[in-house]
């Protein structure tokens, strides 16, 4: 892995947009939106997640990987070839931007899993996605100088050290078309100078951009470790991606309740509920206390069919939601939405602990 960094507290800006009809748009708008909130970041991190960008490879796991050196790349590719069918690999196109210096080597890989690999040592079948997660964990924790920044199908993360608008131009995002874009501008309070530490944080097709700090990180991390998630990167955002993977994908908990685990209602509210709802939320607090995200946060979490905005349960961070036709916008500030869509049908501020879930309309194939 690329060194061990202490956890870096940070303040931030986030912005996301989604077409519920699956219409794809290039990266100009999202860059414009996040750029408006320039003063919420300090130039030490910016990034984007984009869904729908690789229609020609939509059944492949698209790995975006940062390398410290050519040798690290060669070693990692040996591992990838051993674990996957590598259908295509190439450097991710970038352009020179004044403020972006000293980037790592950045490649992408389109991978398939050979069905024959999906058995463990005891001959038991292994879930393909668990297999991919394990490979990501292995590269990030065990291979020197390599870091997988995204690993989902038909999506990818683009991130680095710099202001988000500069990072966007560096990665030529105007050349990509996506139906969901999320973005992040970072304000870390010291300088890690590490590209992997920028947001979004991704696993499979989950991506998370995050404003705030998770004060419960210590226990969240230890809880996830029990389920074999290794949180070596010390970014608190990482735990959110793992939680949605664990709770929603692996344990089958509906998205809405997954959010209610992460930002659980207060006992005072639970005690006033009707008996059946009280049973639901009491059990959630009893069983998933270690998954409660405590401290100030607003997130935009996305996967290939949904974009979710979530605030902490006492709403210490801002989040505005806007709707225009099939478009849903979420951002730290309303102005960041108005900048790209002045004429909204509806606009409101998200409530504490209440998830805003935007999903692709039924029947929309992406």
């Amino acid at each position: 892995m690329i060194g061990t960094f202490p956890r870096i507290p940070s303040g931030c800006a986030i912005s996301g947009m989604m077409s519920k009809k699956g219409r794809r748009m290039n990266g100009e708008a999202v860059i414009k939106s996040i750029a408006l909130m320039h003063d919420r970041s300090n130039g030490l991190g910016g990034g984007f997640a984009a869904y729908g960008i690789y229609p020609d490879f939509k059944n492949h796991y698209a790995f975006h990987i940062l390398y410290s050196s050519k040798q690290n790349r060669i070693d990692t590719e040996t591992y990838l070839k051993d674990k996957f069918i590598v259908d295509r690999c190439e450097p991710i196109p970038t352009r020179n931007v004044d403020n972006i210096t000293d980037p790592p080597i950045i490649w992408r890989y389109f991978l398939l899993v050979d069905g024959k690999s999906l058995y463990d040592n005891a001959g038991q079948p292994v879930d393909e996605r668990d297999y991919v997660v394990e490979a990501v964990m292995y590269i990030n924790n065990c291979l020197d100088g390599a870091f997988v920044i995204s690993s989902g199908k038909n999506m990818g993360a683009f991130k680095g050290v710099g202001y988000p608008e500069d990072i966007g131009r560096f990665f030529c995002l105007e050349d990509y078309e996506a139906y969901i874009w999320t973005s992040h501008g970072r304000f870390p309070t010291n300088t890690p100078g590490w590209w992997g530490g920028a947001h979004p944080f991704c696993l499979l097709d989950w991506s998370v951009v995050h404003n705030g700090e998770i004060s419960s990180y210590g226990i969240n991390k230890r809880y996830l470790e029990m389920f074999n998630y290794r949180c070596e990167l010390q970014t608190d955002t990482e735990v959110v991606a793992y939680f949605v993977d664990l709770l929603h994908r692996k344990q089958g908990i509906p998205l809405e309740l997954t959010c209610k685990i992460l930002a659980a209602p207060f006992w005072q509210e639970i005690d006033r509920m009707e008996p059946e709802q009280r049973a639901v939320y009491t059990a959630i607090r009893q069983v998933y206390g270690s998954a409660l995200l405590n401290g100030p946060f607003s997130f935009i979490i996305a996967n290939s069919r949904a974009m979710i905005g979530l605030n902490d349960r006492i709403k210490l961070r801002p989040m505005t939601v806007g709707i225009k036709d099939d478009m849903v916008y979420m951002a730290s500030e309303e102005s960041a939405i108005r900048e790209i869509c002045p004429d909204l049908d509806e606009v409101w501020t998200a409530e504490a602990g209440e998830p805003v879930i935007a999903e692709l309309e039924e029947g929309v194939e992406v």
């Binding site: 990180y217 230890r222 389920f227 908990i253 309740l257 009893q286 069983v287 206390g289 349960r313």
Partner: protein, 502 residues
């Protein structure tokens, strides 16, 4: 052969202040003071520094000081060793003591500091904002299942094992009726009810007058099975199998016959005046599968409606033992460190056997997590928890709740003279002598306990607020919020914390 043993303490009476009311003579449970001629005189040898006379003298005319008698200085043969040897030479018996291990072992609580938020993440003001301490003890599943109902709501599909609610993550430690007085038990029980927490009967049975506190009661099943029957088990909120005690790991309990008066005999369900012996071990537990058998015998007897706790002393191999207990079906593991108190224990055992709770707790929590079974059990940590700071640190190390025994006794008036085994407690706590028991007003003592729990809870809320979290589960096991000071690398490693500055 009797030996001359100098007094440990000197009772100083200011005869110019003394108004000869003789209250002190009556107050001393140890017979130290008497009225001779025209003044109070002290038999210094009998004084244990329980400070009852000092505290009750209306003229503040009494002071108790350490006897300045000097032994020849010797760092190896301390005065304590010399005194104990003389005692044994005279009696040929085992040295007996009460209270917890008071030796100068390192206190790890005193080498850990808590974190607080500054600027980059905010602290929370507990006076204004919600701050949740509610804690549930019981075995939790790894995941929940829900079903979507017609009316558009999610309903719970998973049936959880029994969970017991604590309004604040504290329980009172096991102290049996017999070791302490009925008034002390009443105080603990009613305070537990008022505070929404639990008290623990210890192994001495459950007095009928305390049946009404069942929802706040942990009943113990120890090797002697005193007072254990269907009703006893079913009155309780939690049933606890006592396998060990921090003050005397591997050693059983023994209530001498003279303390088994009529009332004690009723709750223990044994004849008056007979010794109540509950040796280690349980004779139906000689291996871990036997523990599982007893756990399920209790579950069968209580209709699977109550969590079953297993209390063990913190010993070297505690992590592996705890793992076995979790896998044997216990809902709660109650870990008692070597500072834990006792009504009576051989001094040599109390002072030399077992390990600190901080270390044991860290090792157990780690082990259970590594094995992926931490959710299966709640952990109660005890053994020398002195303050809300110790409690917060224990929770950060991984405890679901802490148990307090000695602290609760002190709140009720105990001065920690460590003579519980004599049955002469001047404060009416560790005694069955009616004239002494009467001194402890159960309502007033309960109020003291309630005040202490309230104070600790307020402090815990302040700590959580400073940490920027508003629910105790966000501190639980969050060792990231602890730092070590003055600990070596191995100690830090075992505790799973970083040194201050990292």
């Amino acid at each position: 052969m009797s030996v001359y043993l100098p007094a440990e303490f000197n009772v100083q009476i200011d005869h110019t202040l003394c108004r000869r009311c003789r209250r002190c003579v009556a107050e001393c449970g140890f017979g130290t003071l008497s009225f001779k001629g025209d003044k109070v005189v002290a038999d210094h040898k009998k004084c244990v520094a329980c400070q009852r006379c000092v505290s009750t003298c209306p003229e503040a005319a009494i002071n108790v000081v350490k006897n300045p008698l000097a032994y020849k200085e010797n760092h190896h043969w301390t005065p304590e060793h010399i005194k104990n040897l003389h005692k044994q030479a005279a009696t040929g018996g085992m040295l007996l003591t009460g209270g917890g291990n008071d030796k100068v072992y390192k206190s790890y609580f005193d080498h850990m500091v808590l974190d607080a938020c500054q600027v980059t993440n905010p602290s929370i003001d507990p006076l204004r904002e919600p701050m949740e301490l509610r804690t549930y003890l019981g075995s939790k599943p790894d995941s929940l299942e829900f079903r979507y109902s017609e009316n558009g709501e999610y309903k719970l599909k998973t049936k959880l094992n029994p969970q017991v609610k604590l309004d604040t993550p504290i329980v009172f430690s096991a102290m049996s009726y017999g070791a302490i007085s009925l008034n002390a038990h009443k105080a603990l029980a009613s305070a537990a009810k008022e505070c929404g927490i639990l008290y623990n009967t210890g192994e001495g049975g459950l007095h009928k007058e305390l049946y009404c506190y069942g929802e706040n009661t942990i009943v113990q099943v120890a090797s002697g099975r005193f007072g254990v029957n269907q009703e006893y088990l079913n009155r309780a909120a939690v049933v606890e199998i006592k396998c060990g005690q921090g003050a005397k790991p591997g050693i059983g309990g023994h209530l001498p016959g003279e303390k088994v008066n009529r009332e004690v005999s009723q709750t223990r369900m044994i004849p008056e005046g007979s010794d109540a012996i509950s040796p280690a071990p349980h004779h139906d537990i000689y291996s871990i599968e036997d523990l599982a058998q007893l756990i399920y015998a209790i579950k069968e007897a209580t209709g699977y409606e109550k969590p079953v706790s297993v209390k063990i002393a913190a010993v070297h191999n505690v992590a592996a033992i705890a793992s076995g207990i979790a896998r044997a079906g216990a809902d709660i593991i109650y870990l008692d460190g070597f500072r834990g108190g006792t009504g009576a224990a051989p001094t040599i055992i109390r002072d030399n056997v077992g390990i600190p709770i901080e270390i044991a707790l860290a090792a157990v929590d780690d082990r259970l997590r590594k094995e992926g079974i931490r959710n299966k059990v709640s952990i109660i940590a005890s053994g020398g928890i002195r303050s809300s700071a110790d409690m917060a640190k224990a929770i950060a190390l991984g405890a679901d709740a802490v148990a307090v025994g000695t602290a609760a006794l002190i709140a009720m008036g105990c001065r920690l003279c460590q003579k519980c085994y004599t049955g002469s407690c001047s404060w009416g706590i560790a005694t069955q002598r009616p004239e002494l028991v009467r001194r402890l007003n159960p309502d007033k003592a309960a109020q003291c306990l309630i005040n202490m729990i309230r104070g600790w809870s307020l402090e815990l809320k302040e700590i959580l607020g400073a940490l920027g979290v508003n629910a105790v589960e966000s501190l639980r096991g969050s060792r990231e919020r602890l730092r070590g000071i003055g600990l070596n690398e191995t100690e830090l490693n075992i505790l799973g914390i970083k040194p201050a500055g990292r």
